[in-house]
Each structure stands twice: as structure tokens, then as C-alpha cells.
Assembly symmetry: C2
Homo-oligomer: 221 residues x 2
């Protein structure tokens, strides 16, 4: 179960619940609803009561597990970022030329975006994390951690891009960072316009991810 790893991660961070139980289900439910609310109405536009209402519960349940609205947002963001990271690193580990790896990375990125629109839309919002003015010193640590992961994520693409240039599979370009930002922009933008059709087939998503990746990669080869 994918939840196992996630759970271990959480247990240490949430209200001092060090050991596991089936509290995980409850927390996951909260995170799912929060992700949906944040995606639909934005961070500031979402009230804790909104999330609670969607859960069919009250604030009490949420504040039982999360110190603040900001912490809740952080956790959703972290989860979304983790899923992205896992998908992309897996794509790297599959090996091949720089170009091949890069294309698989972009495709994995795109597919993950589509399969987790709610969480990833929150991640995209999170680019503006620094906007959060009401941050305790404690939160600021987490914030820096999150922004660091963001940066690492982008650097993964930069590294493989350079790798591809070194082995000749990727074209030389004026500014690698700019090229990568273009590619990531095209994919990240999906979180904004893409919403799954009620009856959407997995193959459709895969086809779209493949198409997006191919177009972007073609631009740099």
C-alpha cells in the first residue's frame, strides 16, 4: 500500500501522534477534502468550515489533527510534491540517454498531474507560498523545506537536460534553466485547465501525457 510510507511520514508530524492506528484513514480523508477545497477556492478562499462541511464533520475534527489552516495546506502540498518526486525519480532510474530520460520525466510529470489534479493544483498554488504572511517560526522551517524540494525538483530536470547535452541527445541551448522552465510551465499549467472527464479512461490520460511530453521534448532536440 502506498499509504504505508505516507503514514509513517505523517505520524511524526501530526499532533504528536507518534504511533500508527487507523487514524491514518481519517487524516487521508481530511487531506483529500482539503486538496479539493484548496483547488476549487484557493487557500485564502477556503475556510476550515468549508473543508469540514465537505467532510460531513466540524472544525473539531480538523483541528484535532492539524495545528492550523496553514499546516493543513503544507501537508497537502507536501503530499502532492512527494507524488511528483516519486514519479519523476522513477523515470530517471529507468535509464537511457538524456533525451530518453527527460522525455519519460516530463511524461511522468504530466501523468501525475492528471492523476492527482487536486493535490497538484495545490502544489502549483504553492509557488506563492511566500505570500503566507501569518507564519510562525515553526511553519517557516517547513516552508523552507517545501520550497527546497521545489527547487530540487526543478534541478532534476536541469541535470538530466545537461546530461542529454553532454551525450548529444539534447540540443545545445542558450539558457538551460529557461528551457526547463518552459517545459515545466507547459506541464504545470495542466493543473489549471485539466479536469478529468467523469468517464475518462486511463489510456486517454496516458495519451495526453505522452503527447505533451513529445511536443516539449521535440522543442529541445
Amino acid at each position: 500500500m502506498a499509504n504505508e510510507g505516507i503514514h509513517r511520514e505523517w505520524a511524526s508530524r501530526i499532533r504528536g501522534h507518534e504511533e500508527s492506528g487507523n487514524l491514518v484513514e481519517s487524516v487521508v480523508e481530511i487531506l483529500d477534502c482539503a486538496a479539493l477545497c484548496f483547488t476549487e477556492m484557493g487557500f485564502q478562499g477556503t475556510s476550515i468550515d468549508d473543508v469540514a462541511r465537505r467532510l460531513g464533520a466540524t472544525k473539531g475534527r480538523i483541528y484535532h489533527y492539524f495545528r492550523s489552516k496553514t499546516d493543513l495546506f503544507f501537508e497537502v502540498h507536501r503530499e502532492g510534491m512527494t507524488r511528483l518526486m516519486d514519479a519523476v525519480t522513477a523515470a530517471i532510474d529507468a535509464g537511457g540517454t538524456g533525451r530518453e530520460k527527460l522525455q519519460r520525466m516530463v511524461e511522468a510529470h504530466a501523468l501525475t498531474m492528471m492523476q492527482n489534479v487536486a493535490y497538484e493544483a495545490v502544489v502549483v498554488q504553492g509557488v506563492h507560498l511566500h505570500r503566507l504572511s501569518a507564519t510562525t517560526p515553526e511553519q517557516r522551517v517547513i516552508l523552507n523545506e517545501l520550497m527546497d524540494v521545489r527547487h530540487q525538483f526543478e534541478q532534476l530536470f536541469v541535470q538530466v537536460f545537461r546530461e542529454g547535452q553532454a551525450d548529444g541527445s539534447v540540443r545545445e541551448t542558450a539558457d538551460v534553466s529557461l528551457a526547463v522552465k518552459g517545459i515545466l510551465g507547459a506541464v504545470n499549467w495542466m493543473a489549471i485547465w485539466y479536469r478529468p472527464r467523469p468517464d475518462e479512461r486511463p489510456e486517454t490520460q496516458e495519451a495526453m501525457a505522452h503527447e505533451v511530453a513529445e511536443l516539449q521534448i521535440r522543442g529541445v532536440t
Copy 2:
């Protein structure tokens, strides 16, 4: 002066001021500050007092010209959209093959984004306009109008894209709409990461815009 046209536009919409004066300067100042605030802290994160403080004024001045915070946001959004539209349509009018036009459009789009980061960042935020729950019937009319312009903007790219496919200058692709969304995503994303260096030369911006456009166009040819 570019302000002339803008002004005529406004006069009819703002607090019934039908005729001009130097009220325009004051309104432009407000819009500029509002754009900055919205860009930095988001719509919901920005208070009218924030904008006023940045102006070195008070709420009174803002509410003298704008009915509500939402209307203020709308006006900034409209201005940003207008600038984009103007730049892109000009690129179309320059003629050439579909591919040539498309590349100029993307380049113009990118350059406009960089030259008007504040306004365009608001436009990008505006993708989520539907989030605004507190909308009067009056505002909903404007909102539909804005979203309509958005759609038209995207359709411009789709049309020229097809034009390029017809004349053979653009490659056949599975889904034109998807391809366009990719390109627009790469450019729109600039509003999120790009911030002008204090001493940034215009040529630097032009070079970046050119680079981004070339990479994206190369993907579809």
C-alpha cells in the same frame, strides 16, 4: 498616448464619470498599485487597505473610483488582457506563413508578459475567476465578458495553428487544442517565475522571449 484609448474605455465604467479629466492619472496609479498587490499577495490575500497604503492614501480614494474590491480586480485583469490581445493581434497582422505568425504571436505574448508582469500575473490568477463567490449579477456580466476574451485569446492561437497546418508550415498533431495549451502554459508560467532584474535591459527580455518562442514552435514543426 496609449492612455487615451484606455481612458475612454474606463470613463464609462467607473463610477459614472462619463467625461475625462486628469482623473485618469489617479485611476492608473490605483490600478498599478492594485496590480502589484494582487500579484504579490493574491486577490483574497490583498486588502483594500494594503493597496491604499501602497498608494500612500486611504480606502476613500479607491472606493471613490471603484464600487468594490472585485471590480478593482476586474479592471486590472481587463487591462492586462487588453495589452496581451493588442500585442498578439499585431503579431498576426504582420502576415506570413502560419508558422511565422504563430512564432511571432508566442514571442509577443512572452514579451508582453515580461513587460507587464504585475498586470499579467493578475491575468494568470484570473483563470480562477469563477472562484469569486461574492459576485453581484452586475459583476457576473463583466466576469463572463472577461472569460470570453480569455477564450477568444486562446482561439486566436488555435486558428493560426490550423492555418499553419493547412499551409504545411505546422506539423499535424493529435490534438491542436492540447498543443496550444502546452505552448500557452509555457508562456503563462513566466508570470509566476519571472521578475525583472533591477537593471534588466530590454534586449535581455527580447532575447528571452525569442528563446521561449523558438523552443515552443520547434516542438510543433
